[in-house]
């Protein structure tokens, strides 16, 4: 549970916490409506990897990423991150765990009427006293962490603007800053560029890569475009009907591999282009 920042210079927040690994054993996810999201997934993701999870919509990508921070409960099997069990965590324990795992969404999921800064400070909720949250005030240290996160994604100048006034790419950067403000051990990204145009998509993927390379944080990113998976992943996991059908280096994944993952011939829409 090391949430304190260790490293050079007391008071600075630059040092990233140690990255976490992920271990999934025989994970089954069955939703209340009977749909099976994951069907017997065994997976080891090492700390510091940048993993691209590919598959068509409905293949279980979202289920996979959401079991890692407990947003989707597992029906059976075990999920561990770092040294902690996710599937058995409840209440305070689960919130503390989630507080150390950043998450980025396809539709950004910002409070549109709140300022950029307020949205990034959502990443500090587990560190903030409830009375402070209710009054809408944050400690100077939390604000400093939020500003630094905004600086890292290059939109510090937008701090006091309303989130909904930003472009899609900028909004996704705010979401990345919100995740970074958590000083996470692990970042999950669920189709982070599916709502963005190609150049912006590459910029946001570049931001995620820098988080992985410069801060050493483990990154798991869901994608459905094979060229993005090839370019940015250091490892690729292919999902189909809730099971892992490919696991290996993305560079070696031929078009035939993608056809196997997708269960159909490739189309022009399966790549982003640039």
């Amino acid at each position: 549970m090391s949430v304190t920042s260790r490293g050079a210079g007391a008071g600075t927040v630059r040092s990233a916490p140690a990255p976490w690994d992920i271990r999934m054993r025989d994970v089954l996810v069955r939703y209340p409506n009977g749909v099976v999201g994951l069907n017997g997934v065994d997976l080891d993701i090492e700390a510091g990897q940048m993993v691209a999870v590919v598959g068509l919509s409905g293949s279980g990508k979202s289920s996979l990423i959401r079991t890692v921070n407990g947003l989707v409960p597992v029906t059976s099997g075990t999920v561990e991150v770092g040294a902690q069990r996710v599937d058995t965590a409840r209440g305070r324990e689960l919130r503390a765990l989630r507080g150390q795992i950043g998450m980025i969404f396809q539709s950004f999921n910002l409070a549109g009427r709140a300022t950029v800064l307020s949205n990034v400070l959502v990443g500090r909720l587990t560190h903030a006293a409830t009375w402070r949250t209710l009054l809408g005030t944050y400690t100077e240290q939390d604000k400093a962490i939020a500003f630094e996160a905004l600086d890292r994604v290059g939109i510090l100048d937008k701090a006091y603007q309303r989130a909904s006034h930003l472009s899609g790419g900028q909004q996704q950067r705010v979401a990345i800053a919100r995740a970074l403000a958590q000083t996470p051990h692990l970042v999950l990204a669920d189709e982070p560029v599916a709502s963005l145009d190609p150049p912006t998509a590459h910029e946001v993927m570049g931001d995620l890569r820098r988080i992985n390379q410069e801060l050493g944080i483990t990154v798991v990113v869901n994608l459905h475009l094979l060229d993005l998976a090839r370019e940015y992943g250091t490892r690729m996991i292919g999902l189909r009907a809730g099971t892992v059908v490919y696991d290996g280096p993305p560079a070696q994944a031929s078009d035939a591999v993608f056809e196997e993952i997708y269960g159909r011939p490739l189309r022009s829409g399966d790549v982003l282009g640039s």
């Binding site: 921070n69 947003l71 919130r95 989630r98 549109g112 709140a114 307020s118 959502v122 909720l125 587990t126």
Partner: protein
């Protein structure tokens, strides 16, 4: 399958309209059923026995009152000032208290901001009861409990306001995108923290909108509440009506109209700034 010829001569094969016939027939049956039920409710003995011939027989009685209403007694104005001010005070105080109570209750009553089905359901049942009771009945009971004056009127209005605001605002929360709430939950916030930091900023304009609307309703409602002794213009309305002074009643109605129009235009201006 039917065929349509376009302007440039191509033939399009249009899929058949799904169950079109049945739907049209059903719609007509429904319209006729509504008409039949309406006619039935007005029929003698079975329904409410609405006798339209009575209108022809008695319209003169009403007409004389309408004539009196068309000539307001302006000299009556000074006596209306104090009750009018009291009505406004009641409306403002009740709206303020109602709004403060309603915001947390709205979050409590909406599914995205309160996943616990039981506490949410309990509050909803309570609010349905609060809304089902007419504010005039609250006022009548409260006058008996705390005495004649503005206080019972204010309490009755607060209950009325909470019922309305919580219903409308919680429905707004349920209709909104839950993505931001999910993101804050994923960041490890408690439900209280998530609601405060994400739900409140997004719901605030709608909430203020309903509050302004309720203020307008309160001005009108507080005039009625006076009829049972709960302060404000209503007491005066009751007095002048019992003396058949429709010219004075007319002035009071005009004053309420002016106040409502002023509040409406003011809230419209505020709303433009909010959105």
């Amino acid at each position: 399958m039917s065929q349509v010829v376009t302007a440039d001569g191509r033939v399009l094969t249009v899929p058949p309209r799904p169950r079109g016939r049945h739907r049209t027939v059903l719609a007509w049956v429904a319209v006729l059923a509504v008409l039949a039920v309406t006619a039935l409710t007005m029929a003698p003995r079975v329904g409410i026995d609405a006798d339209l011939s009575a209108v022809a027989g008695h319209w003169r009685n009403g007409a004389s009152k309408i004539v009196a209403l068309l000539a307001p007694d302006w000299a009556f104005f000074p006596r209306t000032v104090e009750p009018l001010v009291q009505t406004l005070q009641m409306a403002v105080i009740a709206t303020a208290i109602g709004a403060v109570v309603s915001l947390p209750l709205s979050l409590w009553a909406a599914r995205p901001t309160n996943p616990d089905r039981w506490s949410r359901g309990a509050l909803r049942v309570l609010l349905n009861i609060v809304r089902a009771v007419p504010e005039l009945l609250y006022a009548a009971v409260l006058v008996a409990m705390v005495g004649v004056g503005a206080l019972p009127g204010i309490i009755a209005l607060v209950l009325f306001d909470v019922g309305i605001i919580v219903k409308l605002v919680s429905e707004q929360i349920e209709a909104a995108d839950t993505g931001p709430l999910e993101a804050a939950t994923a960041a490890g916030g408690t439900q209280l923290q998530v609601n405060r930091s994400v739900a409140v900023p997004d719901v605030l304009p709608g909430f203020l909108n309903q509050t302004l609307y309720v203020l307008e309703l309160n001005v009108r409602a507080s005039a009625v509440l006076g009829l049972v002794g709960a302060g404000g213009l209503g007491l005066l309305i009751d007095a002048v009506r019992s003396f058949y002074r429709y010219d004075q009643l007319s002035l009071i109605i005009l004053e309420i109209l002016v106040v409502v129009v002023v509040i409406d235009s003011a809230s419209a201006a505020i709303r433009r700034r909010l959105v």
